[in-house]
Subunit: 364 residues, 2 copies
């Protein structure tokens, strides 16, 4: 059986590496044959909305999935008529637009930071008077890794931010003084079975995920997160892996955003869980029995940004595994990640602290 | 960095899948582009002893290793002059010849079943009078999965066996009424570091490995096996993964044979250990720090022979992972394997029993 993946980034690459053992083959659509996925599978060269390339992908494969969210919805609707496309287009469309994402949370009674749609400069003026400062102005579309958003400290930031973000449809959100950030990764088969990984704690720097620790052991928060995720997956008639990122404020979870795909905060599952998020995504879109999500000890994942540290140094750390995506170095670019697995959280944190040093950062 | 692999069978395929995360690329030499490894990496078509193909492999890669033992020694010596070749040629040569293998065990004081070289029909006559019956007659070369050997119950079997095995140089071994069979997988870096996986217990049927369970928990036997393996690896100035298969007779380990490569009885390490034998082989031949060999719970590995069971049935078992090598079905052919990982050995054995049923066999 052949799986098509729109986007041959590191997520697509890791999906293929998780799927080969199941006897599957992979075809990617991406702009360049040297993309991370192209190094481990067949590639069709083209833009994500190139009709001919999408048609070719549909023709060659049995199921199509994606490793990027910024695939034009219209292009996807077309391919979904020719071949099975999962996760469902509706879920992708919801995740592509911060406003519809937040409205979906609200409709499903999933708490979220207060927000207001901002279609015009006047609407922005009104919104800041309602939500106050500090607040965060975000474009509705094409935001990721801290891009497409501005922090508004006070009235003096409003004009600049409106201009800098391109005067397009936006959303204003109340700033949350969060204690920490958590994510829940769930996976659902079309036939309805659902499994969850334990919560992961995520530390961002300059809008980019720096490191993740899992499991984040908190029974009540785990239950709450699973309840929200289940509600969302059932509402979207979801198939595949879905991630929700939360702010934690006291004993409250506030949903920040969703990713209708495998997620950077779940990379630790390759070594740190019985079944990885990548394998479970593949199993889910093929409607195969889902794999166990139990942890193997305590894990940390550190993104390797901008340049790769010396392999020898990193692999010397206890329980370390390196994932090099085969990309050209560029400042702040995600070139790879390193996972640490340890029998307890203290040992994990000691190794994590050393690893962050090797990556030129430090434990927070 | 590019790794060359002579042989693109399932072992080569799993080596490549373990090496991609380290940012490596793989080139295989094999007779057919549809070999299991050819489905996940570049392939050079040719016989294992084709000088032009071997030269091309050396040219394209930085280090060359192998996934089959039956590579002609002369061909390997030639390639080893052009590119780094590991494990060392001497270890491969020793493993290719049952007589030199057994003599190496003896020289290193590693107990082994009694054996005698049998160069002629007359020598065979003499050998059976010395070792008695039952005994096992084996060709010195090209034996694997039960091939190239005959069980001699009594004098009446001698003639037939000599003829059937092709009247070539052989070895006669005293038959061991063993309690069970164990294997130890060790890995050594050129710089000398060594790690061992816990002993695995192996059940063969008709000479082919049926299933493996690990860890086989026995402190004294583990120590003994590690001592023997260390002695052998140091003697061979070894780099890579090396497997020794033992018969267990009371509290004695009798070395049966070695494999200078990753081994079927170590497939469980992909999910069942912190670092798989495949990743550790790659780390070792690149002289990188070795990964931890600690177990994730209790594992079993079942070979899927002749035809693949229904994926849905197998994946329904708790802690199951399927590895389909992408081969055409053929009676008794190793088409794939399934690993089970469980928190304790009872749960593992319950799942194993059901898995063996699905594979048309039963727990022994």
């Amino acid at each position: 059986m052949k799986i098509g993946i729109i986007g041959a980034g590191q997520l697509g690459r890791m999906l293929a590496l998780a799927g080969y053992p199941l006897g599957l083959r992979f075809v990617f659509l991406d702009k360049t044959p040297e993309a991370p996925g192209g190094q481990v599978g067949q590639i069709i060269e083209g833009e994500f909305d190139d009709p001919a390339a999408l048609a070719r992908l549909a023709e060659l494969t049995d199921v199509v999935t994606f490793d990027v969210e910024n695939v034009p919805e219209a292009a996807v609707r077309e391919i979904a008529e020719k071949v099975q496309f999962l996760p469902p287009v509706g879920a992708l469309a919801t995740a592509q637009d911060r406003l519809s994402e937040k409205r979906t949370f609200s409709a499903l009674h999933i708490p979220t930071p207060r927000f207001l749609p901002v279609a015009t400069r006047e609407a922005l003026e009104l919104a800041v008077t309602q939500l106050g400062f500090p607040s965060v102005l975000k474009t509705r579309r094409m935001g990721y890794d801290g891009r497409g958003q501005r922090f508004l400290k006070g009235p003096e930031d409003v004009d600049d931010s409106w201009e800098a973000l391109g005067r397009m449809p936006m959303i204003l959100e109340a700033f949350v003084e969060f204690d920490t950030e958590l994510s829940i990764i769930g996976v659902r088969r079309p036939s309805g079975d659902i499994r969850f990984y334990p919560l992961a704690e995520n530390i961002h720097e300059e809008g980019i995920l720096s490191y993740t620790r899992a499991p984040y052991v908190d029974g009540p928060l785990q239950d709450t997160a699973e309840r929200y995720s289940r509600r969302l997956m059932e509402h979207l008639d979801y198939a595949g892996v879905l991630t929700i990122e939360f702010f934690v404020e006291g004993d409250q979870l506030l949903a920040n955003e969703i990713a209708p795909r495998v997620h950077n905060s779940g990379h630790w599952t390759i070594e740190g869980a019985v079944t990885s998020q990548f394998e479970n995504h593949i199993r889910a879109i093929l409607d195969l029995p889902l794999g166990e999500t139990r942890c193997n000890g305590h894990s940390a994942m550190v993104n390797l940004l901008g340049e790769m540290p010396e392999l020898t140094d990193v692999l010397s750390l206890a329980g370390a595994h390196v994932h090099d995506y085969g990309k050209e170095p560029r400042p702040n670019r995600k070139l790879g990640h390193c996972t640490l697995v340890a029998p307890d959280s203290d040992e994990r944190d000691r190794a994590l602290s050393r690893l962050l040093e090797l990556a030129g950062r430090s434990l927070r």
